[in-house]
Amino acid sequence: MSEHAQTAGQIPEANTWSLGGKEFSSRFILGSGKFRLDLVRAAVEDAGAEIVTLAVRRANTGQEGSILDAIPDGVTLLPNTSGARTAEEAVRIARLARELGCGDLVKVEVIRDTKYLLPDNAETVRATELLADEGFTVLPYMYPDLNVARDLVSAGAAAVMPLGAPIGSNKGLVTRDFIRILIEEIDLPVIVDAGIGRPSQACEAMEMGATAVMANTAVATAGDIRLMARAFGQAVRAGRAAYLAGLGRVLETGEASSPLTGFLEEEGR
């Protein structure tokens, strides 16, 4: 990647990214599933989020004032296939998302583990292929495995969404070293999803060069939801700016002279 700021004074906020042909300036994606609906709008606004995910199964309702109504206009909906246990189920849920008017963006979640909610990478690759063939813009939620990420690229994914830690765990970047590998090796946007519990963790993911960060539980279960939404928005912007600025060196010990190669200089004298 060569996104680092070339000249001093470049405004990081102007740095945009695109997905499914749309430009986004916010790099913070907010989940909606764990909120009281009357707080979703305020959280989206305070976080400055431009993309909000929602579970198709939650949107599958005739309930008045449902989750679809709670998400402010102008925000891009990213429906997810939660509840799918196989690629075929994910496809059916994605089609339902289209019918519900959520467009062609879809976050693929294929999970057949109710305890840790870890994604099934193999089925996720299959679902990505099937959905990409149907014209969806597919964002697969995945366990950060480089080979799988490459398979997802081949399958037609528009981005990859590796987990930082199990969903809802708020444990942060437990998988940081593997996410770092994906960021280095995969040419698609890498969106860190799941497990982010604090703004500082979101910031770290952005400093590493992630394209965007997604959170839900960490904001929805905060004491002051609006303030936490704002904190996440700011942390993501700060992390992005730090990445663009190019982080300074981190040294284990003080760097004195050059005990090994200093002789080269001496020889030249």
Binding site: N60, T61, G62, Q63, G83, R112, T114, K115, S169
Partner: protein, 484 residues
């Protein structure tokens, strides 16, 4: 804590050893059916046939079973686990006689037409419950367990012990955190619909039992549609269909048709009906059902035999394996519950949690949920002998379930008061019913409506419940499910 006599009885039941020992003041044999010493003549004849073949004289066997001179435990049967057995083929007359006669079925012997999984789960769960000594748990144990990030099956019992009672506030705080983490503010709504109350079982504590003098009813297709439409018009999107347990009157076909009608009107359909075979569950799944609830009532085999005198329900391991058969039939989720207060509630809650844990371990994709019913008075039912469970103790059980399996759904029954339900929902319950009637045909007040199964304490309708949940800071959710 069970007394020594009862433990002895359990051991006998577990070993299916001959001999019986009546508990003082009770007429029942401790483990009805385990009565080798009393073996009557036809039994010897049957045994002489060897283990594999059917009884020689089915008519005699039927008569003996109906007369209560023998039980199915006296007939040839094969072991399918440490405790459980499978009965050799029996004539239809003999089977029918046994099903409809008090204590003629052996509670630990599968009938010939029942699927048997026999994978050891029943023995493991009952062994653990038997070995559990709630009074041996100390406050130090509770502190240690509450300091852990996760609570495994070996430590679940610590949270259910009397020693954990003083830690209830801490347990509730943790239960609330876990709920927020896994479910956010969401609380899911559903309503039960009783479509029939005929029942072949005789459960001494239940208002629907076959000897109760209650009005019986079974809704026909038009009546089911009227009830479903009336409920759907209130805005509910999840329905739980219930019947009494009469597989002849309420056949799988009848239930499947009701489920199809429900699936046309509701986004989520569950059933709480008699335990069925894998193929039956597959048929219900095809009719649009995704969730199956089966209450085990009690995991204490001695109490189980004493409380369930007649009908297929008397076969304890068949009921125990119902959730697994449902999952094999393609169901997405299964719910578990003992009816707390029928036996030692701490042991029963422990066994229920371990049962669910074993199922989740074997079927990691299964959605697990717990129901938390306590004994309530019922017309035609009698109060059992076990001490009743207080609200505080029920709260402890609920919090223990949540801490042990934080991802599981948790339902609080309308048997509980509005005050209790509201607070438990705010702490950790994820599912509540609203607009509940436990009678048959009551949503439309149809002419031949049947009596109620039990008395409900919380009669609030959907709008009132939604408002109450919002006041507690929760988000009422009508549906969170796609049938795929």
């Amino acid at each position: 804590m069970a007394d020594k006599t009862e433990q002895d009885e359990k051991r006998m039941a577990a070993d299916a050893a001959p001999g019986e020992k009546d508990a003082p003041g009770e007429k029942d044999t401790p483990m009805d059916g385990v009565r080798g010493e009393k073996s009557a003549q036809p039994v010897e004849a049957a045994r002489a046939q060897g283990e594999k073949s059917a009884p020689a004289a089915p008519a005699d066997t039927a008569a003996a079973l109906a007369a209560g001179t023998i039980t199915t435990a006296d007939l040839p049967r094969e072991a399918v686990g440490k405790r459980a057995y499978r009965l050799a083929p029996l004539s239809p007359e003999a089977l029918d006689a046994a099903i409809h006669t008090d204590r003629a079925l052996d509670p630990l012997t599968f009938l010939p037409d029942m699927d048997v999984l026999g994978n050891g789960m029943f023995d493991r769960v009952l062994d653990a419950a038997e070995a559990y000594d709630p009074d041996a748990v100390t406050a130090a144990d509770v502190r240690r367990v509450l300091a852990e990030d996760t609570v495994g099956p070996a430590d679940f019992g610590v949270l259910l012990a009397p020693a954990a009672e003083p830690f209830l506030e801490r347990m509730a705080a943790r239960a609330q955190r876990e709920r927020a983490r896994w479910f956010g503010s969401n609380v899911q709504f559903f309503t039960p619909l009783y479509i029939a109350n005929y029942c072949e079982n005789r459960c001494v504590y239940c208002g629907f039992n076959c000897t109760s003098d209650i009005r019986r009813a079974q809704l026909n297709e038009a009546e089911i549609i009227a009830e479903l439409d009336a409920i759907a018009a209130t805005g509910q999107e999840e329905i739980l269909l219930l019947t009494g347990e009469d597989p002849v009157r309420s056949s799988v076909g009848y239930i499947a048709r009701a489920c199809e009608l429900a699936a046309e009107r509701f986004r989520t359909v569950g059933v709480e009906v008699y335990p069925a075979n894998v193929a039956d569950y597959a048929r219900l799944r095809a009719a649009g059902v995704d969730y199956v609830t089966v209450f085990q009532e009690t995991y204490d085999p001695v109490r189980y035999g004493k409380l369930h005198l007649r009908g297929r329900k008397r076969i304890m391991p068949y009921r125990f394996e119902a959730q697994e058969r449902a999952l094999r039939g393609g169901m997405r989720g299964v719910a578990f519950a003992p009816l707390l207060g029928l036996a030692d509630f701490r042991r029963d809650a422990l066994a229920c949690g371990l049962h669910a844990w074993e199922i989740q371990r074997a079927y990691p994709a299964a959605e697990i949920s717990f129901s938390c019913p306590r004994m309530r008075p019922a017309k035609g039912g009698v109060a059992p002998h076990a001490p009743q469970v207080s609200e505080r103790q029920l709260m402890q059980v609920i919090c223990a379930y949540r801490i042990f399996m934080p991802f599981a759904g948790l339902t609080v029954s309308s048997r509980e008061s509005a005050r209790f339900r509201d607070h438990v929902a705010a702490i950790t319950a994820t599912k509540v019913s609203a607009g509940v009637s436990t009678g048959v045909g009551e949503h439309t007040h149809q002419a031949d409506e049947g009596d109620d199964q039990f008395e409900i304490a919380d009669t609030r309708d959907l709008p009132t419940m939604c408002a109450a949940m919002r006041r507690m800071g929760l988000e009422p959710v009508m549906n969170d499910h796609v049938l795929v």
